[in-house]
Point group: C2
Chain length 179, copies 2
């Protein structure tokens, strides 16, 4: 399946509501526990998604459009969300994510990108040359990687509770490749 900007936007627009429906007002034990040392909780993941809205996707798209390959993106800080989200209730983070995502999608739509824009090339600090199309497809797939991760983090909390069923539950076999 090739990248399709409308399909990307359709998915990006739904993630905040999906996370809201899943996580808001859940008992803390589901949302604040992680998978062990140096791993994230669902709360941390929402913080990370917020940080991406602020510093990753649209800022990088604008660098591609303005500078092409001549200016590499700022490296993304994978722990940049920690201080930003500390002490906030999860409901506030979910609201913040929804607001930032909505603003970013408004901005993306306003760019009215054409096929030739999507083919424009930028420079990733580690991956080298990438296209705007790849950046935007990754934005959507990145939402999915973190939904995948949240499902796994939450299932981990019931690893013992499910007893012998653990071997039938694929999510409990997942080695945690989505950190």
């Amino acid at each position: 399946m090739e990248h399709n900007l409308d399909h990307t936007i359709s998915l990006l627009a739904r993630t905040p509501a999906a996370l809201n429906a899943l996580l808001r007002d859940l008992p803390d034990t589901w949302t604040t526990k992680n998978e062990g040392e140096n791993t994230w909780s669902a709360f941390d993941v929402v913080g990370h998604l917020i940080h991406g809205e602020r510093t990753d996707w649209m800022p990088r798209a604008k660098i591609v459009l303005q500078f092409g390959e001549t200016r590499a993106f700022e490296p993304f800080d994978r722990w940049g969300h920690v201080r930003e989200s500390q002490g906030k209730p999860l409901g506030q983070l979910l609201d913040e994510f929804a607001r930032l995502r909505s603003e970013n999608l408004d901005e993306l739509r306003a760019l009215n990108l054409q096929q030739e824009d999507l083919a424009r090339r930028g420079r990733h600090p580690a991956l080298g040359v990438v296209t705007l199309s790849e950046l935007l497809a990754t934005w959507a797939a990145h939402d999915l990687t973190h939904l995948h991760q949240i499902s796994r983090i939450m299932a981990h909390q019931y690893r013992e509770a499910v007893g012998p069923w653990s071997k039938y539950l694929g999510v409990l076999q997942c080695a945690g490749h989505s950190s």
Copy 2:
């Protein structure tokens, strides 16, 4: 984390709305494509969840309460949803899942289960002796295994589109242990 019935119900109650927010009215290409031969699409997964509401979780809970270890559960038909969901629009399946889940949770709450009930033992046709507590914890973890799977199925559609970012996206490394 031990099994906690209130936590289980909190999670089970949210899954239909989360899937609804994620999937309803998405372009078909996200919801009807699968990961290759003999794999499921997101549409198939919703059908499977409906089939579980009808034939798996509450029917099994009632068998435990009524017959204990003396009567094994009916084996669950992992392809039982195919005929039931064929030709229906996804929106109808999402509505059906939400309605059945809500009815089942009403019934579960009405049982007013106590700790001694949760410790009751039943017989799984393949796994042998299991407890009611394990069955109910598995119901919740099973939702998560399929949310994990849906994220992976959808991300798979952009496997090429993300270009060199694929190596950073954990969901694309997932071997598909949750079938």
